[in-house]
Symmetry: C2
Subunit: 281 residues, 2 copies
């Protein structure tokens, strides 16, 4: 694969890069950011993949996520992909809404026309980006963690539950825990996957756990001041699914915190420390 | 003074606010941000004023500065004002350039028409904002530090040198150290103050030191990969002025770092620790 360097900037004792490549999974160019701490020549470092939420690109967490100091201290590579394919020929929401189409790929392989051609974010994250990070960066691809925010928390949980061997740990900030049971999920999964809700279950963290998928443990932080808490996020559904299935989960309700990067950045270092312990850095 | 709350968001164990008020110094509304760590009822905390660079508002450092974790740990209030007056009746650069007018107030009291009416950022920072922070926030206004970036580093150095009793410590990231000796400074000070360069000296850190102003010590971080290093910033001029005047200064050249918030955020916590020690937290 050939990577185009958009920018490489020195920060926090490492290099913050932004890259572009032609993606076979999406049939478009895709951008992502990677922070690589300084390291000994020839060394490889464990990797944390961060999946962003609705409306975001890689830029939001890259600018506001406050992850570089902790990644440098812990020796972690931090990878932030985009949230959807983009380009002139990529179909968007019919009304240009923020919660479907561009910036809202929901980390699925779409099956419904006209989205199936480009909206293959599941394959992009699980296969293509994974291989690319292993090939083009000083990454120990046997030690990879995944985390995300909101729609990206949904992505991280579902991808980890479907690929237990590929990800050593998983965490989320304010995740959509059950697209089957919230307006964002109903709109996105019906649009990308069609009306058969049975096909949605592999893209629903709670349904995956009910259907037998497991990970070693899960860390979730959720702000009590989050405007989407009761209508969209519903962490109680995850807690109930985990309790019924003996799936270990740590759900921390954070008093007064909202849905923004002011919340995410507050707990970013703790999540990275949690992953580092499980990646045996 | 009556403060309008634009937003108050929980972050890093404190409250990140953005506020607006009618300024008597500038004759406009002015916005600024304040981070207040959680603290005991009735307690007051020392304050760090952060002055931003060309093109910035309070938002750049508030979103990208990575100061909240350190301020919460050290018990520091962090205040970020705007870089110029703004509004429909505030004159801008004739060609709308980024380095004069809106977003480029240079922390002076302008004397040249039509800028003198609104461009009084010196009085705004030294007098009005200072009093406002003391009156409306849990601030110990006897313990205030000042720092800044680029044009804001120029502001911090010159304001501290002119007001040694008001600021316990001063530091800067990639400051403009001598507006008398760089294109940004020549354009701005001739536009705001007129052709008499003698009037510029009170707005030039090197000239102030040459003319006898002193502070206890100065901390400056400067990236060696900064595009503006040789043409605009010229830290050697500050080093020479300090050496000639026995003014203590710590100038750290940071290998490979640029002029952006990727640089600032890297060394923000160290600057805050340096200020905290001098504020005797």
């Amino acid at each position: 694969m050939s990577l185009e360097v958009i920018s490489k900037i020195r920060s926090h004792g490492g290099t913050q890069g932004v890259y572009k490549h032609a993606s076979s999974a999406t049939g478009t160019d895709m951008e992502f950011s990677v922070f690589v701490p300084d390291h000994a020549a020839g060394a490889t470092l464990p990797v944390v993949i961060y999946l962003s939420g609705l409306t975001c690109s890689q830029a939001n967490v890259t600018e506001k996520g406050e992850y570089r100091a902790a990644c440098a201290a812990l020796g972690l590579i931090f990878v932030a992909p985009d949230t959807s394919p983009r380009g002139a020929d990529v179909p968007d929401d019919a009304e240009g809404a923020y919660d479907f189409g561009l910036g809202a790929g929901f980390y699925v392989n779409a099956t419904e026309a006209p989205f199936g051609q480009h909206y293959n974010m599941r394959d992009y994250i699980e296969r293509e980006l994974h291989a690319l990070i292993g090939a083009d960066f000083p990454a120990d691809i046997s030690r990879v963690a995944i985390m995300g925010h909101s729609m990206g928390g949904h992505g991280a949980l579902t991808i980890a539950l479907r690929n237990r061997d590929q990800y050593k740990s998983v965490s989320a900030f304010a995740p959509i825990v059950s697209p089957l049971n919230c307006p964002w999920g109903e709109k996105a999964l019906s649009g990308y996957l069609g009306a058969d809700r049975a096909a949605w279950r592999t893209y629903d963290a709670c349904a995956l756990i009910e259907d037998g998928a497991r990970v070693a443990d899960i860390l979730v932080d959720q702000g009590t001041g989050d405007n989407f808490l009761e209508t969209q996020l519903k962490p109680d559904l995850l807690a109930a699914a985990c309790a019924a299935a003996d799936q270990p989960v740590t759900l921390r309700m954070q008093e007064g915190y909202d849905h923004s990067y002011y919340f995410i950045s507050t707990f970013m270092a703790e999540h990275l420390e949690w992953h580092a312990a499980r990646l045996r850095v």
